[in-house]
């Protein structure tokens, strides 16, 4: 540690005050641009979809045509007939292969594919079987669900003068299913209502 500090001190003495200032500015700029790149580019509200009653999320759009999206949602499940209301957390990855401009302000995304993982904050659920069970007794996690979805979207660009907090608003719906339903759908004659789930949402592009 001591030799390192000495080396650092020598280095500082060897550079002029202008250079130090320059380097500092550059580092601060790097630091700020790093954190800026982590800033969510949109917020979302989504109803149902197996994540919770209402889900509030933020996320990042990226890729050459902003075709990739990563969302993080916090959701809420009412008590219904169980003992407690519950909070959920969802991590979602979307891929939107096409975007078509219908008018200069309205565009549609005819396909949005997604995959998401949902976890429930409640001690009624477990990720790994508690120790009281023999190994592999149930062989699944009651807490973590894996879902896949397909959906469609319409995006409305907000005119420059009317923008308050968002550049555009997107309305979307999704059809999804989860791991537990897929295994039942494959082995039974079920109607789509029994294993497909519908959800609606809104996305607000911040910038």
């Amino acid at each position: 540690m001591v030799p390192l500090l000495c080396f650092h001190a020598l280095n500082v003495m060897a550079t002029s005050p202008v250079e130090i200032d320059d380097r500092y500015q550059r580092r601060i700029a790097d630091y700020q641009s790093f954190w800026q790149s982590l800033m969510p580019t949109y917020t979302k509200l989504q109803y149902a979809g197996g994540m919770g009653w209402l889900n509030v999320g933020a996320g990042w759009a990226y890729g050459n045509n902003q075709q990739w999206e990563t969302d993080v949602f916090l959701g809420f499940i009412s008590r219904y007939t169980s003992d407690n209301a519950k909070l959920t957390l969802t991590l979602k990855q979307n891929f939107i292969p096409w975007r078509h401009e219908m008018t200069p302000t309205v565009s549609i995304e005819p396909l949005a594919c997604g995959m998401y993982f949902n976890t429930v904050f409640s001690d009624e659920f477990w990720t790994k079987e508690p120790d009281r069970y023999p190994h592999g007794y149930y062989n699944f996690s009651t807490r973590v669900r894996t879902h896949i979805s397909v959906g469609q979207r319409v995006r409305f660009l907000i005119p420059d003068k009317k923008r308050i907090f968002s550049r555009s608003i997107t309305l979307f719906y999704e059809i999804s299913t989860c791991d537990l339903y897929v295994v039942s759908a494959f082995t039974n004659r079920l109607s789509p209502e029994d294993y497909l789930r519908l959800s609606f949402g809104m996305k607000f592009d911040i910038f």
Partner: protein
Amino acid sequence: MHGLYSPYLHQNKSYMRKLFYAVLMLCASLSFPSCNMMEVHPYDAHVQGPQNLNETHIREIHEHLKERKSIRFAFISDTQRWYDETRDMVKDINLRGDVDFVIHGGDLSDFGATHEFILQRDIMLGFRMPWVALLGNHDCLGTGEDVFQTIWGKPNFHFQAGNVLFVCLNTNSLEYDYSEPVPDFAYLENLMKNLPEGVEKTIVVMHVPPFDLEFNNNVANVFQLYLKEFPGLLCCLNGHAHRYLVHEPFVDGIAYIQTPCAKSREYILFTIDEDGYEHEVIHF
């Protein structure tokens, strides 16, 4: 005229494409109008439709079979995620025409997910006769027990069919990890002290049999002693192990009759009359 429309003609192709996408999206969104599909969470415990079925059906059994010395019932169990087989089982039992009631030995769900219970309930509401369901170990997962209690009722219950008392017990001890008394001896004591009038025989029904690792085996012998206190204990019925088995785990003359699961397309038909009881495995 041509001059007037030329800009539109020029863009005709792209308009057709836009129209195509708009119609495609409209059709796709209208093809899924069902409200049932908007589910909050697989474990949301949101129960719509008939509830508290055991209580209603117990009353029906009691009233229909009053004064009867001979009864016939079907014992089914472990129908989880075998919806096709369960549908066929309901049809088969209905077609017999001589079954007074049906007992489901538990494991209506595989994962404890809310919709699993609702699917099973809706299939079994097709029974033409009253039916009751017990709590299985799989039914305890997640919010499963809450959903079970809402749709069917308490995990320990009893009912009277003619002169026979049916005691239906929660024996899924491992699921509770000592947080609740399972099996509940206080419930048994209370029932023994307040036996319904006209009871001459008893059948005890449970999901998990003694000596299974899910059972609280420290009290297995005591459990059996308690059961033998009931008037005219005929036999005990259980599910859980997915295969037909008749044995005497305590070698005391009390048979435990284990019913197969829905997957093997089998159930057991019981006939109780003044001479005793008979059972038959039915394949469908």
